[in-house]
């Protein structure tokens, strides 16, 4: 007891000394605290991306170690033209299962998404600058999202729950220079999109988005078949027995399939009955057949400035009078859709949806 008391007095003494010392000097802004060394002890999240050991060799090359698999959805969610490299880490000796048409991931699964820009989009694999890496970690409590921001030296990335912003310069495919003020979401903003019935949920990692062929090593192969062969997927009955979306950028596909694939990957995470935009009654999954839910001659509800001068989400045959294209074609916060994840207009996406609406029977 006495011992404890003296210890407390000692502590108070030290505090007093420190505060005396501090009062004699000018107040300085707090220096950035150096990160402590970190052990890969399985207690997620780590402060540093490197601690997970996802990549071999130089971090910035994003060369996957043998413990992670690359994946790619057929269509990509537009994020200011950022390129993405995606990987999944499935705990050793565990498997992803398919149940009632959905993936069921084992606890400890991590989805890894790296957002980067090449200096020149005509040489996408050269001079890459990685901005952020987002992890979705599947724990007993469900999924959690963690944004890591890369340092200037491109040697590592650090967990930053409050997000941030970064200026990015690159040369577009058309040769024009573009400057983007890239916004890294704060941790809770992730759920603005990654949300199903208020539980955090992956967007691209769904059977319908992954059930397609891609280049794996030297082979072109259905990536879910590959997962099955690797022994990490159970319940996959072959590509033809599961839904599959086209790549919206593939112009050999039917226009309506491309448009629905675009709306599904870019909008339906919110615009579905389990998503945050269920308030609007506008539901944009690829298999939506009800014209009103799809927005055809549907008035907005809480669109505010987003409605522009228009009455309906979609006016068949009239893309220029449709709220959907108006909002996709804006960068003004409060008007722009999606609300998050872009500060530029996705010209190709707008063109696709315009063409689709204009092709509808008036």
């Amino acid at each position: 007891m006495l011992k404890n008391t003296s210890r407390i007095i000692g502590l108070v003494g030290i505090c007093l000394l420190i505060s005396c010392k501090e009062s004699t000097k000018e107040v300085q802004p707090l220096p950035q605290e150096p990160l402590k060394e970190e052990l890969a002890d399985g207690d997620y999240p780590y402060q540093r991306l490197s601690t997970y050991g996802f990549f071999e060799g130089e971090m910035k090359e994003l060369q996957p170690s043998s413990s992670i698999l690359p994946y790619e959805p057929a269509s990509s969610l537009f994020t200011d033209y950022a390129l993405k490299s995606r990987f999944i880490a499935i705990p050793a000796s565990e498997k992803v299962k398919i149940q009632e048409g959905d993936f069921l991931f084992p606890t400890g699964t991590i989805l890894i998404k790296n957002f980067y820009y090449p200096t020149d989009f005509n040489k996408p694999e050269e001079n890459k600058k990685i901005i952020e890496t987002r992890l979705l970690i599947h724990s007993e409590k469900g999924w959690e999202a963690f944004p890591y921001i890369w340092n200037e030296e491109q040697t590592d990335a650090v967990l930053k729950v409050v997000g941030g912003e970064k200026e990015v310069k690159f040369i577009h495919e058309n040769g024009e220079e573009q400057v983007i003020n890239y916004l890294i979401p704060n941790k809770n903003q992730c759920k603005t999109c990654h949300n199903s019935s208020e539980q955090l949920a992956p967007i691209g990692v769904k059977i319908k988005h992954l059930n397609h062929e891609m280049k794996i090593g030297q082979k072109i192969q259905n990536q879910l078949t590959y997962w099955k062969e690797k022994g990490v997927l159970e319940g996959f009955d072959g590509p033809d027995n599961h839904p599959s979306l086209v790549n919206y950028a593939d112009e050999t596909q039917a226009l309506s399939d491309r448009a629905m694939a675009y709306l599904d990957i870019n909008c339906s995470h919110c615009h579905q009955s389990e998503g945050p935009a269920s308030t609007s009654g506008l539901f944009l999954q690829f298999d939506q057949k009800d014209p009103m839910k799809l927005g055809v001659m549907k008035t907005p509800v809480a669109a505010g400035n987003g409605a522009g001068a228009f009455d309906y989400d979609i006016v068949p045959g009239k893309a220029d009078e449709s709220i959907i294209t108006y909002r996709m074609n804006s960068t003004e916060v409060g008007i722009a859709m999606p609300e998050l994840g872009r500060t530029t207009i996705h010209q190709e996406g707008v063109a696709l949806i315009r063409e689709w609406i204009n092709s509808m029977d008036k």
Binding site: V162, N188, S278, T279, K293, P300, A303, G304, N305
Partner: protein
């Protein structure tokens, strides 16, 4: 229509539109508050992310210049407390992405004693929250050009057990206080001014709106049911002991000169006290409905918007409406001519052109229930004292624009009995 006729009419409308008032009134000046440092701002963002169930987030008496959203995600029993609405101010003027300034999802959440300014979309939105109390909050926009303002100031949607108490909501482009697709709701002791709509209850069940002031909006208090929503039709609203006065503000939901768009709020004629649109089971009593230049109260069906009015599990008609013991005062101002409903009232009312009305009923009824409106098929019940002295107009619009008629006769709507029941007693203790 040829242009030579259209132009003078347009010019006339613009001149008359200028008769609508405008307001940029602020409750206090936040620019004099000390500014939060970047570290203090970051700490607040972090507090919203890291707070644990049962915790309290404290907003210091500072002006916070936020560049990211404040989001509370699926937490229980959280208090978010400021030092007073004129002390703790969250400004979202520099927000670059995100649909609202503050977003709340969880269970049993209290927000108290702070202000939210200049959010590009909505001020404070709560969704999928059971138990949400907004108390002594001020949510506003400080832009001179009000067409740049955000949509809703205080915006609970898809919530249960909502209390809005002692709040101020001003200058929103849509509704200041908007409760949507929710159930069990109290809005009390609050002030809504300078908005397009002051207080709006939309697709909600079991709501009581009392002891509020709705002034200087385009429309004071609205009860709407819109088609095609997950919560398809709401019923059970009581509106009592409110002051609904001088709601003559221009409708700035679309830029001046632009007509209405698909947002129903853009059609509200300036000078509207209370508007019921496809509303079900509403009782309105003991309110002061004064000096609203177009009409004190409007009872309307959704067909009046001209939009498609069919949707599953939803009816476009207003029905089971009980209006009694309110006080009305008209004004000598010219009723609105900028919106179709305003033009209808100004030109076709039963008391003479350009006369303010106390109560109007669009007279659109469900012909499957009755082949004439004299049987009061939608159960609209008017029991105001001195009804003979009020300007009451019922329109006949069933034959379209070419055959509009109007009637002063209120007899079909007297001596009826409509029982509206609400119960918000379990909310009183929150």
């Amino acid at each position: 229509m040829n242009h030579s006729i259209q132009l003078p009419i347009l010019a006339l409308f613009l001149i008359l539109a200028a008769c609508s008032s405008r307001s940029n009134e602020q409750t206090f000046d936040s620019s004099k508050l000390p500014r939060a440092t970047e570290t203090q701002v970051e700490k607040l963002v972090e507090d919203f992310i890291l707070v644990e169930d049962g915790g309290t987030i404290t907003i210091e008496p500072l002006f916070y210049d936020l560049k990211t959203q404040l989001i509370l995600d699926n937490k229980k029993n959280i208090k978010i407390i400021g030092a007073g609405m004129d002390q703790s101010v969250l400004s979202f003027r520099n927000l670059k992405t995100g649909g609202e300034g503050v977003k709340i999802v969880g269970e049993n959440i209290l927000l108290e004693n702070f202000s939210v300014e200049d959010a590009p979309g909505d001020g404070i939105k709560s969704q999928h929250t059971d138990g949400i109390t907004f108390r002594k909050l001020n949510v506003t926009w400080t832009n001179g050009d009000k067409s740049k303002n955000g949509t809703y100031a205080i915006y609970p949607v898809q919530c249960k057990n909502v209390v809005i108490d002692g709040c101020i909501a001003s200058h929103s482009k849509d509704a200041g206080i908007y409760v949507g697709q929710s159930e069990n709701i109290i809005v009390k002791n609050s002030l809504a001014f300078g908005n397009v709509a002051g207080i709006e209850i939309e697709n909600c069940d079991n709501a009581e709106v009392f002891d509020n002031v709705a002034r200087d909006n385009s429309g004071g208090i609205l009860v709407f049911n819109l088609p095609g929503l997950p919560k398809s039709d709401g019923r059970g609203t009581k509106i009592y002991n409110n002051e609904i006065i001088d709601n003559n503000h221009e409708n700035f939901a679309t830029p001046l000169g632009d007509g209405p768009n698909g947002n129903t709020v853009t059609m509200i004629p300036p000078g509207s006290g209370i508007i019921l649109l496809a509303a079900k089971e509403v009782e309105i009593f003991n309110n002061k409905i004064h000096r609203n230049k177009t009409t004190g109260l409007a009872i309307a069906s959704y067909q009046i918007t001209g939009f498609p009015s069919e949707a599953p599990n939803w009816s476009p008609y207003s029905h089971d409406i009980y209006i009694h013991d309110n006080s009305y005062k008209r004004t000598l101002k010219i009723p609105d001519l900028t919106r179709e409903l305003g033009q209808l009232i100004s030109v076709y009312n039963a008391h003479g052109k350009a006369k303010t009305q106390d109560i109007i009923y669009d007279g659109i009824w469900d012909t499957e229930i009755s082949d004439n409106i004299e049987t009061n098929p939608m159960r609209i019940c008017l029991q105001e004292e001195g009804m003979d002295k009020l300007h009451f107009t019922m329109f006949y619009l069933m034959d379209g624009e070419d055959n509009i008629k109007s009637f002063k006769d209120y007899d079909p709507f007297q001596g009826c009995n409509v029982n509206v029941s609400t119960d918000v007693s379990n909310l009183a203790s929150l």
